[in-house]
Amino acid sequence: MRLREIPITAWVGILGIALACFCAAFAPLIAPYGETEVVGGVWQEADAQFFFGLDNLGRDILSRLIYGARTTLSVALAATVISFSLGILLSFIAAVSGGLIDTVFSRFNDLMMSIPTLIFALVVLAVLPQHLIVLILVMAVLDSTRVYRLGRAVALDVAVMEFVEAARLRGEGTTWIIFREILPNTLSPLLAEFGLRFAFSILFLSTLSFLGLGIQPPAADWGGMVKDNKDGIIFGISAALVPGTAIAALAICVNLVVDWLLKRTSSLKGGRGDA
């Protein structure tokens, strides 16, 4: 792959994600103030000293935004990656094996989906110890039910193709069929779903934080910052819009990159064209 072939939109996406990752990695070095440090008055206006102004407790929004990138990015990304790995693996096994395995997996998935996600998450998180890993896993497992649905549908389409039958006739095992024959042919719809799910994970995380079961204060995360500052909007203070914009920008950047990958994987050369 040559760098010149990457379109402008994908570069914008890559730069945006790189910036967020950079902030997350070097937050203590680049943030002008501490994460929880109170540096001035409540909802103080933006000026030369405080680029985005101060929040509802008088903390620097820019600094919290930089620190918040850490938790938001890592939790949302980890949850999405785990949910995809889990969902794709299980759905592909179901699609390739068929029969009893397919039925058991699919009905269990239906069972999981029949319980409202938020309520399920609240119950489980309230029972389990408050820990970041637990939060990530709960989000991932709940999200993987959606991935399973999509994964099974697209895998079934491919699993009945003759080249899969040819692989079976050769004597190939399930692992080869899943990872070498089916996965490359289903990447397009799955990648598109990844972009969407990542954005949803950020929102879900902020919902959980809002209800007090996500990231615990005073640690910063973008969704939590929107919640903290939402009352300001009534008084014409735009503090809540800054982290909101950051969430939107990150979601758009991820989708720009995913769109480009999508175009690459579904291009005529070696692609199925449709899907």
Partner: protein, 543 residues
């Protein structure tokens, strides 16, 4: 007599978008001219990509998939329809000029009744009232020989057979009393035994309604039955244009001669057919829902020879191949390979057993993973069965490419970058890579143009003499059977109706089904259709 349709210097172009390169203009049709009079039929013939469908659609002033008519004139009754505006063209399409597509199953809306779809264009164009249109449809159903014409229109597309659907589509085209119909390979997707009925119905209907037609096909024998004139096309240019008689009996161009003479080679059958490599004994099979697809089939194949299995769709010939490979375990009977019984299910067979029987599919498109390069496709059996890797594997892949008469340059291409014939060659190489003893060929040439198919058959023959391969060749084409088989098995509705050495199986006395099958194969001879219809003993199924 004035010309109904007159095409002058037609030029059609399209923009292609090769991956990684700037878009470029390509010429699909260049400088094609022809005339068609009322009540006459012109056959357009050529291999895929010859531009025959594109020319046919130009009679409706339509360019499919980005094709643009950029030059020339298409005059219908003296009016250049290319110069008409959108509204003008709309008046022509579906009223003066109608179109019959190749796959009627895909062209009908499954949610509406056939009758409503057949009369739709006539009513929309205001040519007749609903009742008049219904009456006309009924008349056409009768002319086309459809069963129960009074109630045929009340059925849905899925309730009638493929051959009937194709005839319903012809009725749809004839309904508005058009002056011209474009038939785009109307019988290509049908069985030979069905094709002959549809062909006869179309011919009768054209004569009865005195309509002119453009008949597009790649089968010269078919077009010889129905046309008055034939135009042979290649790469978008006219190769030869003349009357049927002249094209069939005295072609002047080499390409036309090749088309006329395709498959006139016949293989001498092997004299000794007693040493069985594969023996199928009284095998029956059924689907998991209990539907029985094979009834006590027994046959055998000798080492280094070819067994052709012939039959129409649904005769169980492909199922027999699936049973032999182990994809569908037989419910009864046994299969022995080199005197050792083959275990029925795929999972219980050893890797070596799997290696010795390979399968070549009809559609090379779907039989190869579109995300793997030729190197991966051919190389995988090498790694899987022989543990070859790296340079040794590459060297062997190149050797195999040479065997299938393709250059090394193809090694890093994806299937989408190969032509139909090349794809089938790669599929053959994949089977060869396993060094099998038996290759099951499931209609490997039926999706290919005649000359390309001929190349594939020659390759298979060459490989057979080189490495003592045995083939089971599943086909519905008797001409292929004559060309390559040592022994022949004829199947009908899951039963074996005839089996034996070619010389015996294909000579009289015939049973009724074999007689029908043999007589249904179009021959390159004017008047063949009428002669056959008057002499056959059994009507084809489902019509």
């Amino acid at each position: 007599m004035p010309e109904l349709l007159s095409v002058r210097n037609l030029k059609i172009e399209a923009t292609s978008y090769p991956p990684g390169e700037p878009p470029k203009r390509i010429t699909i049709v260049d400088g094609v001219s022809f005339d068609l009079q009322k009540g006459k039929v012109l056959g357009l013939i050529g291999e895929s990509g010859a531009g025959k469908s594109t020319i046919g659609l130009s009679a409706l002033a339509y360019g499919r998939g980005g094709a643009e008519i950029t030059g020339g004139e298409v005059s219908l009754n003296g009016t250049n329809i290319l110069a008409l505006g959108k509204a003008g063209i709309r008046k022509v399409r579906g009223a003066q000029v109608c179109y019959v597509a190749q796959s009627a199953a895909a062209a009908f809306n499954p949610a509406h009744r056939l009758g409503d779809q057949v009369i739709e264009a006539s009513v929309k164009h205001g040519l007749m009232s609903k009742d008049e249109a219904r009456k006309r449809a009924l008349y056409l159903f009768r002319v086309l020989g459809l069963p129960h014409p009074e109630t045929f229109g009340d059925r849905f597309p899925h309730q009638v057979s493929g051959g009937q659907l194709q005839r319903a589509m012809t009725a749809m085209a004839l309904c508005p009393n058009p002056e011209l119909i474009v038939f785009d390979e109307p019988t290509t997707a049908l069985d030979v035994t069905t094709q002959i009925d549809v062909l006869a119905a179309i011919k009768h209907a054209i004569e009865e309604t005195d309509t002119a037609a453009l008949y597009i096909t790649h089968d010269l024998a078919v077009v010889a039955q129905i046309s008055d004139d034939i135009m042979v096309l290649r790469y978008g240019k006219t190769v030869e244009y003349g009357s049927v008689q002249q094209i069939i009996e005295a072609p002047t161009q080499d390409y036309t001669r090749a088309l006329v003479n395709v498959r006139q080679t016949a293989r001498q059958e092997a004299p000794d057919q007693s040493q069985a490599l594969l023996r199928v004994d009284n095998v029956s099979a059924q689907y998991s829902n209990g539907f029985k697809v094979l009834h006590g089939v027994s046959l055998h194949l000798c080492k280094g020879q070819t067994l052709a299995i012939v039959g129409e769709s649904g005769s169980g010939k492909s199922t027999l191949a699936r049973v032999i490979t182990g994809l569908l375990p037989p419910s009864d009977g046994r299969i022995t390979f080199e005197d050792k019984p083959l275990t029925p299910a795929l999972k219980s067979r050893s890797r070596d057993e799997l290696r010795r029987i390979q399968l070549i599919y009809q559609m090379a498109d779907t039989a190869m993973n579109p995300r793997q390069t030729v190197r991966d496709i051919i190389g995988r059996p090498l790694t899987f069965y022989y543990g070859l890797r790296g340079a040794a594997k590459t060297a062997r892949v190149k050797e195999l490419l040479e065997q299938i008469e393709m250059s090394n340059g193809f090694i890093d291409r994806y299937p989408a970058e190969l032509s139909g014939g090349q794809k089938q060659r790669v599929a053959i190489a994949r089977a060869l890579a396993a060094k099998p003893e038996l290759i099951l060929c499931d209609e490997p040439t039926s999706a290919l143009d005649p000359l390309v198919a001929e190349g594939i058959l020659k390759l298979l023959m060459k490989l057979q003499t080189e490495s003592q391969l045995s083939y089971i060749f599943i086909t519905h084409d008797i001409a292929i059977v004559r060309a390559i088989a040592d022994s022949v098995a004829v199947m009908h509705r899951g039963r074996l109706v005839r089996f034996g050495p070619k010389s015996r199986a294909l000579s009289p006395p015939f049973d009724d089904y074999t007689d029908l099958l043999l007589k249904s194969v179009p021959e390159m001879e004017i008047g063949w259709l009428e002669r056959v219809l008057s002499t056959r003993r059994m009507a084809s199924a489902g019509n």
